[in-house]
């Protein structure tokens, strides 16, 4: 597999050709298809790693995972540090706990997947959407297409899921 060098929001991103696990992961994402590594124990892991963090097993298959879950925690950035994000404040970085493998292998664990809050077409969400989302919000995965072979998994509000009456948000707006 060739490596990837691209520009996203004016920010250089690159994956080395040696980085097979990440290249495979992002290649699936480029097909809008979310796959994670699954080891012989049946446990999946995120993000891609050389071996299973719970069993140490290196053998794995790539398994399709449904991109649905609830916001577990987040930050809402008002002062962007990276120049690429200055035009998009406030932007949200979400930590989403997937419905798949929730509470495994221990009650306090799950597959917690990063991403920005986005519109359904994978653009960083406008402020009025940011204000609707908090801990507990139901979200579904969408993708930002950056280049052939590279899309970033992102999150948007799940219109089909029942939403909490009042997702928990930081008390100051």
């Amino acid at each position: 597999m060739a490596g990837i060098r691209i520009d996203y929001l004016g920010m250089p991103l690159s994956l080395d050709e040696l980085d097979g696990e990440n290249l495979t992961f992002f290649n699936y994402c480029a097909r809008h298809d979310f796959h994670l590594q699954k080891g012989p124990s049946g446990l999946m892991r995120y993000p891609p790693t050389t071996a299973c963090p719970w069993t140490g097993e290196r053998d794995h298959v790539w398994q399709r995972v449904e991109g649905r879950g609830a916001v577990y925690s987040y930050t809402e950035v008002h002062q962007a540090i990276q120049p690429a994000f200055r035009a998009f404040v406030p932007y949200m970085v979400l930590l989403v706990e997937l419905d798949t493998q929730k509470g495994q292998p221990t009650a306090d664990e799950g597959l917690r997947v990063m991403g920005n809050l986005c519109t359904a077409d994978g653009k960083l969400a406008p402020p009025e959407m940011v204000r609707k989302v908090g801990i507990g919000s139901r979200v579904r995965m969408v993708f930002s297409d950056l280049a052939p072979g590279l899309s970033l998994p992102q999150w948007t509000l799940d219109e089909t899921a029942p939403q909490p009456a009042k997702p928990w948000r930081y008390p100051q707006e």
Binding site: N22, P53, Y72, S73, V93, D108, R112, I135
Partner: protein, 416 residues
Amino acid sequence: MPAEIDTSSAKHLRGKYAIVGVGETSYSRGSGRTTRALATWAVGNAMRDAGLRADQVDGMLSYSSGDSTFAPFVAGDLGLRLDFYMDVFGGGSSTEALVGMAMGVIEAGMCKTVAIFRSMNGYSQVRIGGTGVRSAAPVVGDQLHGRAYGWQTAGQMFSFTFLRHMYEYGTTPEQVAMVKVIHSEHASNNPKAFYKQRVTVADVVNSKLICKPLHLLDCCVETDNATCIIVTRSERARDLKQRPALILGVAGRVSKPRMDMHYQHGPITRVAGHYAKDILWRNAGVGPEDIDVTGSYDAFTFTTMLQLEDYGFCKKGEGGHYVADGSMRLGGRRPNNTSGGHLCEGYTHGMNMVIENVRQLRGEADDNCPLGPDGKRRHSHDYREGGCRQVRDCELTANLGWAMPGTGSALVMARG
């Protein structure tokens, strides 16, 4: 001490080593000097403080994130010939870990006295907050799972833990703001502090939002500085200038499972101190209730709170109450960061909090009270603005160092 604390191990090292010298530069924005020059000043100051000559310091340790100088340069500038040195990669919580490593290399017979330094132009060169060169660096490899989302700085990366704590335990912005309020009170009695102005809860929660839940005043102050402590055998301290700060126990770079992806392993409000406490209190032979002064790392207001909880100074989830109830204030039950810490004195990656506790144990954490005929301060223990900083009868201190939610180190010292 609670009965369940195992005090059976490491007793032979308890009190065998000591911090015998401390030194620093000023905390500025625009030092006008290289990190090599700053380090040379700080190590030189610590040697003078200890009363150590150049031929009496034969070991050196430093830590940095590629933004500092190297021990051999500093040693050369001070006329030292080293039998041991190592420059390690590391930020917060390295100080306490390197104290333990210094004990180890002396115990192994590799050298006798180790100077540990951290030098940074944290404002004027490589900004510790992540702006400037670090924010402009290309996003490579595994960073695509983080920095590509605008999730890069310490504040952004720790905020999942901070917000989840508020969600799970009802911790309020006003409670956490008290960390800054109290540290600013302490800094107002410390002429070395970069920010000496006392602030209120309203000042903190009305300051600019950086990334929720952090306001500008929840974040530490980037400065240029170098800091140094010197470790040797306690028996050597008898021939030196200062009353030693005896090292009772250390815990170094203790990590949560999956430290680099700490947010995968829950509960995410649990920080590394949860694991480090069992090593620290066992090695030191004391418990949190015995401690007179804490130095709980305040890269952010929240980090102070989270560590005090997980090291057992209060129950899990009650950190908001603990930091807001006045316990941490000079004159309170157990003052924290009496120099003003990272939030006010200056950010050092942890060293200034150890320096301050050494001074507390010596009875010399005071820059304002009148001098007596012996040249020592006559402590008023009046902690009003511009007043005393020395804690009454300070015998035991604990430093709780933070690298990130997933890694921490700690150190207990006793008055020698």
